[in-house]
Amino acid sequence: MDYRFHLAKRMLVNKRGSLIGAVLAVSIGILVINVNFVIFQGIYDAIIRDMSEYRFGDIYVYDEEKSTIEKSDTVLINWFERIPGVEAATPRLEASATAETRILGHQHEKFNVPVLGVDPISDIRTSTIHETVGDGQYVYARNSIVVGESVASDLGGCSQGGFFMSSGTDPTVTGDVDIGECQPVRVGDSVKLTITDQWGIDQKKRFVVTGISGTAGGQGFDRSVIIHIDTLRDMLDRSGESGSIMVRLQESASPYDAKQIKNQFLQAFPNDNLRAETIEESAESTLAGFRSGIAMINLIGYFGMGSSAFAILTIQMMLVNSKTREIGIMRAIGARRKDILIIFIMQGMIIGAMGAGAGTALGLGYTTYAKITNMEFGGSLALEVNYNWQKIGETAFIAFILAMIASIYPSYRATKKQPVEAMRAV
């Protein structure tokens, strides 16, 4: 082993306090970046995951000019499902309705809710929204309705502390009976929807609640109701029309494949005013701001790392000053300035390597903990925790390089010490 490395190591080990301080400074900087990454990148990925799983799929098709696609959904879905790499496709239709419940013969709640029309057969192959139905089951018949958790709660008057009060997204107080405690809508209850069709005429229909859907994170359908797409088409008088086509690719497909299939689709239907987007494009407007936030948080992490470099610089200056006599002795017995420089830079490298190792271990520990415990943000949104080895490696490498760079000036100062004067130091 090079005597300079040996000496650098011994000098550091014998100054344990300084060594621990410097290593902690580096490792905490790395830990902050890793924790930020786990939380914020985890939220980001979770939002993309939920948007893809519940709303947009891997490819999302809609009409560029009108609110609905007039072309037969069967034609479009058959086209997609013939393409290698496509798992499934499903039509969807969205509208707005007034939902109301009656309890004990009295109108209990009435407010506007978004309505999603789905094809039960193809939807469960394309989306995982059916898996979010905790109570009951997914839409299976023309008169069944799946109610989002918030809507179920609001329809039962629970959003106002258990007393009968109007609530919901668009409250309209029509009841006047205080029925005491709130009773969220449950499976088996009935909900009446009023939807205005394309001709401006109100269409009313009573549905039986078959399931309650709970999807956290703001990307699900907690504040919506889900019904059969054909029922919605009938109520809107838009037979055969769809609002969008959601396409799911096979797990092995890459973002590049998604783009290829999207382009292929657009070439196949050039005159239908159809627009197709990959999930990245669909989520762009939602996530653009979030990405800036992640960048900002990472910047703060790197500033933290910069601060740790200053801490190393200070500790190294202290180490150099405390080793002045030793530097003088070494110079006297023949060590060159370069040797002294290398010894202290090696100390920086040791600090950097130990700090990067400890910080990465702590960061990985936190990541693993987040993954094992299915860590949630705000108690609801399950983080999508991934080991980003490139990011972990980059962070550790940058910390190591910073520690080494921070050691250059103290090392240079060490080489400037004259042996005679240095040896006089106590």
């Binding site: 005597y3 000496l7 023949g334």
Partner: protein, 224 residues
């Protein structure tokens, strides 16, 4: 050699036209009172400082034009140092301290020699002890071993017994004399404790920056 510190009114002539030569194998004692210039003289000979005028020749080689790196290499190969406070590196063991001068030149063949010298100076049992865990006398003997490990042309000792009690000092002096005799090693030892050293080959007295041959002979100025 002349060495002047400071400028104008604060100018101090620490060495004033000092010139002498030392034969190979000689044990030379440089004596003088505190502040007489003897440590300055040793620093010049050891190339730790540069004279204002004059030059140092070792084995006939003029050292005045050497670069900083060349001086370091020269010090490492041709000179051995023993300081007043031993000046071992506390972070290393006794053996590692003795091996350090050869390791600086990436010479890894001196391990046995270092052990041999340490045995000669009576530190056979202390090889792997940390330098700050041995006594002052043992540290000084280890420093002598470190000064000898590279077979230097001259060993320069600056007040090697200045920090030791009389018994330990006597022991260290015996070790140096033994090494000089056994190895034919040239020693230049600076001290103000003349009596401790007994018989030596030669004595140079430094007084007010000037060098004189012998102990009490200001009239015999050295002009070799």
């Amino acid at each position: 050699m002349t060495k002047i510190y400071g400028e104008a009114e604060t100018k101090v002539r620490a060495l004033d036209n000092v010139s002498f030569s030392v034969k190979k194998g000689e044990f030379v004692l440089v004596i003088g009172s505190s502040g007489s210039g003897k440590s300055t003289l040793l620093n010049m000979i050891g190339l730790l400082d540069k004279p204002t005028e004059g030059k140092v020749l070792v084995d006939g080689f003029d050292t005045s034009n050497l670069t900083d790196n060349e001086i370091s290499t020269f010090r490492n190969k041709k000179l051995g140092f023993v300081f007043q406070f031993a000046n071992l590196l506390a972070d290393l063991t006794v053996l590692e301290n003795v091996l350090l001068p050869s390791q600086i030149q990436f010479d890894s063949t001196t391990n046995n020699k270092a052990k041999e010298i340490l045995e000669k100076v009576g530190l056979k049992d202390q090889l792997f002890k940390r330098a700050n865990k041995i006594s002052g006398g043992q540290a000084q003997r280890a420093a002598i071993a470190r000064g000898l490990v590279n077979n230097p042309t001259i060993v320069l000792a600056d007040e090697p017994t200045g920090n030791l009690d009389s018994v330990t000092a006597k022991n260290v002096i015996e070790v140096m004399k033994k090494m000089a005799k056994d190895l034919g090693q040239t020693f230049i030892v600076v001290t103000h404790e003349r009596a401790q050293f007994g018989d030596v080959d030669r004595i140079i007295t430094i007084k007010d920056g000037r060098a004189f041959e012998g102990e009490h002979s200001p009239e015999l100025e050295v002009v070799a």
